[in-house]
Symmetry: C2
Subunit: 216 residues, 2 copies
DNA sequence: CTCGCCAAGGTGTGATCACAAAAAGGAATG
DNA sequence: CATTCCTTTTTGTGATCACACCTTGGCGAG
């Protein structure tokens, strides 16, 4: 057995490559809500046949990242305000629990890493770059939640992020603030202090903050 | 336009039929954990080609109802105790919220319907029929949660049920009780009284009760 | 009897094609 | 100018096939 290289990249499966790339684009708000996609178009874009394109689309539809009309047409979902409220409530429920479980394992190295990420969030906000903002913001949350050692919960949270992706871009496009997210600082402070109630409140506030933009 | 018939069943799509039937079997514990499946076998069983079988399997894998090995082999998932604990915690989080949202809309007709379903749960327990027990038990919960008017949350809860399906059967197979579920009565009583804290506690207890069987 | 090897069958993957249905475009009619 | 109808194009669905890989069963060497 070779010791110099990893077991070898076993399978750069076409459908998985398409799935991962599309998923990332959707989650980070790179595709507008309601945007239509076609299997042949995706196949052309990723240089594969319809078969892997179909599989990746089917997978994303199952996760709520894409929606299909009755006739099978594919598009990113257009979320109603009620559904956005639901998804935000789910984020609050799941992510507060994840943060709470991560708290006892959050050492100094993690907190410093969160501060570095938060600095990048601030840069993205200053540059009005919605996609970068969404990406670094989610990286902040994921870095914290990874410490919870709860993969099923984290997967659920990511599924919610995925469903909100296209809409988030449209929402943050209206955002005119230039200051970095205030609640991230509260999260970091609560982590330092080992303050569990404070952490729960800070995460809940951060997650539901975006809802206020709907009233504009 | 015809008034006697519905717009016509537009598409008994093969992959959707396979998906629905498989999903139901998995959610209700009709398939043992770790059971292997093959695309050609499923195609033969449902009298379709590999293509629809693949699509339905891909969808179920995306929902966590099936798992794939690194080489692409398909089987129902074998859950570790840690994952079972996580899924139970997710059920507690989401279903308590759903019940709480359903409470203000729960009228007498709904409560009576829940009592009828609960009677059927009791019969299934008395007959030691694990699949019937799981099916009627989930019907009890779904009937309540439908009143919450929160489709995204309900979908999340069903995804968790789906992931636990095969394992639930194995778990309830050990069950030797003959009395109907005690917490369902508490849920109904709390609904009658409009007692929100009591309802939350009853749902949480009912959902996490199964965990105690792991210690046996 | 145990272990290793090798061949045969089984399995998922991806490409291609025929088909039906839906959308799009344009011409003719009011 | 709007509307209806028809043709053309586009789109998703499902079947089939070739291919590479894994798994497994059996055989033979030690």
């Amino acid at each position: 057995m070779s010791l110099t290289a990893r077991p070898v990249d076993p399978a750069p499966l076409a459908h998985d490559r398409v799935y991962r790339h599309l998923r990332s684009r959707i989650m980070h708000g790179d595709i507008a809500p309601g945007q239509a996609l076609t299997l042949r178009g995706l196949g052309k874009e990723y240089d594969v046949s319809m078969t892997p394109a179909r599989e990746s689309v089917r997978r994303l539809v199952a996760e709520g990242a894409l929606s299909m009309s009755a006739s099978g047409r594919i598009s990113t979902p257009l979320l109603s305000n009620e559904r956005i409220e639901e998804l935000a409530a789910l984020r609050a429920l799941i992510e507060v629990e994840l943060a709470s479980r991560a708290l006892p394992r959050a050492h100094l190295a993690l907190i410093e890493r969160l501060q570095n990420i938060n600095a990048r969030v601030g840069e993205a906000v200053a540059q009005r770059d919605a996609v970068s903002y969404i990406r670094t913001n989610l990286e902040f949350h994921r870095t914290l939640y990874l410490r919870a050692q709860a993969p099923a919960m984290l997967a659920m949270a990511e599924t919610v992020w995925l469903q909100m992706g296209p809409t988030m871009n449209a929402l943050y496009g209206r955002l005119r603030r230039t200051e970095p997210p205030q609640f991230h600082r509260l999260i970091i402070a609560a982590l330092r202090a080992g303050d569990e109630p404070g952490l729960r409140l800070a995460v809940r506030s951060d997650v539901t903050q975006g809802l206020r933009m709907l009233a504009s």
